[in-house]
Amino acid sequence: MTNQINWEFPQALEDEAIYILRETAAQFEKPVLLFSGGKDSITLVRLAQKAFYPGKIPFPLLHVDTGHNFPETIQFRDWLVNSLGLDIIVRNVQDSIDQGKVQEETGKYASRNALQTVTLLDAIEEGKFDACIGGARRDEEKARAKERIFSVRDEFGQWNAKMQRPELFDILNGKINIGENVRVFPISNWTELDVWNYIRREKLEIPSIYFAHEREIIERDGLYWPYSEFLNTTADEVPYRQKVRFRTVGDMTCTAAVISDADKLEDIIAEIMEAKISERGARIDDKRSEAAMEKRKQAGYF
C-alpha cells in the first residue's frame, strides 16, 4: 500500500534539528561536528549552516580519515570545506597505527572500521571537545534506536545503555561532569528517505559514488565489494566491471555496492522505496554479530 513515493520532506524534522544544533552551541564550550563525507554528515553541515545564518557555523568539522576512504569522498570533502569556508580538523588512523596504539587487522575481512574509534577518542581528548555532533539515525540500527539525542559518554567514550538520562519533551540537559563528553544526534528522528528528500529539496551536492557508475567489484558472501588495493582477496575472487552505486558510504573495505542504473536523485529515491534490503544491509561492519553496533557504541564508536 505504500509503494507510492513520498517526495515531501517533513519540515518538522528540520526545525527540530536546528533547535538541537543551537542548543549544542549554547550549552557546550567546544562542540565539533563529526564529518564522514557521507550523506548524513553532509545533511548536518547544511543544517548547521542554516541554524546560525547569517553567522558562521560556530564549531569546526572533524574527519577521522581511515586511509581507506573512497577517493571520491575525500575530493568531495575538500570541495565542500572550500566552498563553504568551513574549519576542518583531519586525523588519520595511520598515525594511530604508527604510534602502536592500534593494530591493523589481518585476513580477508580486514578493515580499519574498528580502529578509527581510538583515533577519534584521541582527537576528542586532544581538542578538548565536550560535544561531538554526529549524523547517526535511530532507524539505521536497533541499538541506535535506543539512543538519546544528547548521549552522555564517559572519559573512555563509552555508552552506558542502562544509565541513559531521561529526555523529556524538547528539553535538552547538556550538563556533564569533568572528563565526560556528549554525542549529539540532531537527525535522530530522520529516516533514510527523509535524508534523501532533504538532499533533493535543498539541492545539496553529494559524492559521486552515490550515483550509478562503473567500477571493479568482487562478489563475496552474496555482497558486491568494491575492489581496491585495501581489500585482501583470495585467488578465486576475480574482479570484474559492473555498473553500481553505493547506498551508504563508509570505508572501501566495509561498504558493499548495489547494482543500479540510478544516476539521478529521483531514481535513487525510487530505488530506496522499492528496496527489499535495509540501508545497513550493505554495511559489512554490522554483520559481525547481532550486537555489533551496541558493542562498538560501548567502546566509544559514534
Partner: protein, 415 residues
C-alpha cells in the same frame, strides 16, 4: 508532510511488539534483510515463530531477558504521514521511561489483552496519558481471536474503561476503542472480516485520521531565546537576531513584543528562516527574529506579545514524576530547566504522592522515590516564565537536574 508521534506501552505478553511488527509489516516498512535476521534470531532462541519483539528490543540485556527496558523509536510512513512510535516498557520500575516516551506523543496507544481485561499496567498507562494531556487515546483490545471475536467481551472491557475515564484529570481527551487481533492482522492495517460487528476504523485508518493541533491561535505566543546571532561581518555588520524555536502561538512582522524578564518593548522587524523572510512564524518553527529597537535580551529570556504575558513565577506548584534512584528530599536545591532557561530551585514541600491505580493521595511525605508521582512546591532563585501545563503544555513543563551529578532527576508540570 506531517509527523505523528505515538507512544505505546505494555508488557511482553500483551502482544504489543506483534502489533507494532504488524503495522510495520503491513505498511511495507520491514526490509527483507531485517526480516531474515528476525527469523534467524528467533530460531536461535528456540522459538517456532518469528518474534517481532526482537525488532524493537535493541539491547543485549533486553533480548536476554525478553523485556523492554528503554524507549525504542520506530519509524514508518504512509503516503500521507510520517509516524514515530516511542515504544516504552510497561513495568512499574520503568514508569520514568514511559513518561519519557509519552512526553512528545500526540497519540497514546494502550493495549489490553481481551482475555485479561484491565490490569494494573492499564491504570498506570492511562494515568500518564492523562497527566501528560496527550490529546488522543486509542485503546486496542487485542487477542480478540482468543475470545472468539466476542462483541460482548469487547463491550465489557469498554465499559470497564469508561469507569477509569471518570477519574481522569484531563477531560478533553479523544478516546477510541478498537477490537484487534495483531497475530492475524485483524483491524490493524485492514479489516479481514472476522470482526464483522465492528463498524469503526482499523488502527491504521484511525491514525491516518488523527487531526493535528493547528490551533496555534488558542495558545499564547512564546519565543524562548536560544542565542543571539551577531555575525559582525562586513555584509551583516549591524545584524542582531534572536535565534529560537516558537514554543507556542505565532508571531508576525509588526507585532509588538516584550522581552521578559527585562520588560523592554519593541516591534518585530523581520522573521528569518535561513535566506527566506517570513511574514509569520508558527509554533515549533525554528527561526531568527530581529527587532526594531536595540534591546538587551539573551539566552533564557523570552519574547512574548505585550497583551498576553505569562506570570513570572518564583514559587511553583507542580505535579512531578521522580526519575532518579536517589530520592527527592524536601529542602534540597536542584537546577530547574524550563525550555532553555536554567534556574536554581529549592523544594519547599512535598504536598502529596499519588497512587496511580487508586488515585489515593498520601500527604506528609518528606521524600519521593524512583517512579513516584506527586505534587511539590518549589521556590526559584529567579522568575520562571511558565504557563500552567493545562493551559499551554508547550510552555508548562520543566525538568529538575541534580547539581552534583548533573543527571536529569524529574519532570514537572506547572499547575
Amino acid at each position: 508532510m506531517e509527523v505523528l508521534r505515538i507512544a505505546t506501552s505494555g508488557s511482553v505478553d500483551d502482544g504489543k511488539s506483534t502489533l507494532i511488527g504488524r503495522l510495520l509489516y503491513d505498511t511495507n516498512s520491514i526490509p527483507q534483510d531485517k526480516m531474515e535476521a528476525l527469523h534467524a534470531a528467533s530460531k536461535r532462541k528456540g522459538l517456532d515463530f518469528t518474534d517481532l519483539s526482537l525488532l524493537t528490543d535493541g539491547l543485549v540485556a533486553e533480548r536476554e531477558q525478553g523485556i523492554t527496558i528503554d524507549v525504542a523509536h520506530i519509524y514508518f510512513s504512509t503516503p500521507t504521514r510520517k509516524y514515530i512510535i516511542a515504544d516504552t516498557p510497561g513495568h512499574v520500575e520503568y514508569t520514568r521511561n514511559m513518561v519519557t516516551g509519552a512526553s512528545n506523543a500526540q497519540v497514546s496507544l494502550i493495549l489490553i489483552d481481551a482475555r485479561k481485561g484491565i490490569v494494573e499496567q492499564t491504570y498506570r498507562h492511562f494515568f500518564i496519558a492523562s497527566l501528560l494531556r496527550i490529546p488522543y487515546l486509542v485503546v486496542c483490545v487485542n487477542k480478540m481471536d482468543l475470545v472468539e471475536y466476542s462483541e460482548a467481551r469487547f463491550n465489557q472491557i469498554v465499559e470497564e474503561f469508561q469507569q477509569l475515564l471518570q477519574n481522569a484529570s484531563f477531560k478533553a481527551q479523544d478516546v477510541a476503542f478498537i477490537p484487534v487481533s495483531s497475530l492475524y492482522g485483524e483491524n490493524v492495517a485492514s479489516a479481514n472480516g472476522a470482526i464483522d460487528w465492528y463498524k469503526g476504523p482499523t488502527l491504521l485508518d484511525y491514525l491516518e485520521g488523527v487531526q493535528f493541533d493547528h490551533a496555534d491561535s488558542v495558545h499564547p505566543a512564546r519565543f524562548p531565546i536560544q542565542s543571539v546571532i551577531r555575525p559582525r561581518t562586513t555584509e551583516y555588520h549591524d545584524f542582531r537576531g534572536f535565534a529560537g524555536k516558537v514554543a507556542s502561538g505565532h508571531f508576525s512582522v509588526g507585532d509588538e513584543v516584550i522581552s521578559l524578564p527585562s520588560g523592554q518593548k519593541s516591534r518585530i522587524k523581520t522573521i528569518e528562516q535561513f535566506e527566506k523572510q517570513l511574514e509569520t512564524a508558527h509554533a515549533r518553527e525554528s527561526v531568527v527574529i530581529t527587532l526594531e529597537d536595540e534591546i538587551d535580551s539573551s539566552r533564557g529570556n523570552m519574547l512574548v506579545k505585550t497583551n498576553e504575558q505569562p506570570k513570572q513565577l518564583k514559587e511553583i506548584s507542580a505535579q512531578i514524576c521522580w526519575m532518579d534512584a536517589q530520592p527527592l528530599t524536601a529542602g534540597k536545591t536542584y537546577l530547574l530547566q524550563h525550555g532553555v532557561n536554567r534556574v536554581k530551585a529549592k523544594v519547599q514541600q512535598i504536598n502529596y504522592v499519588i497512587d496511580v491505580t487508586s488515585y489515593q493521595q498520601t500527604t506528609g511525605k518528606t521524600t519521593m522515590g524512583l517512579n513516584d508521582i506527586g505534587k511539590i512546591t518549589l521556590k526559584t532563585a529567579s522568575p520562571v516564565l511558565a504557563d500552567p501545563y493545562s493551559v499551554n503544555p508547550a510552555n508548562g513543563a520543566f525538568i529538575l537536574i541534580d547539581e552534583f551529578n548533573n543527571t536529569t532527576v524529574a519532570v514537572g508540570f506547572v499547575e
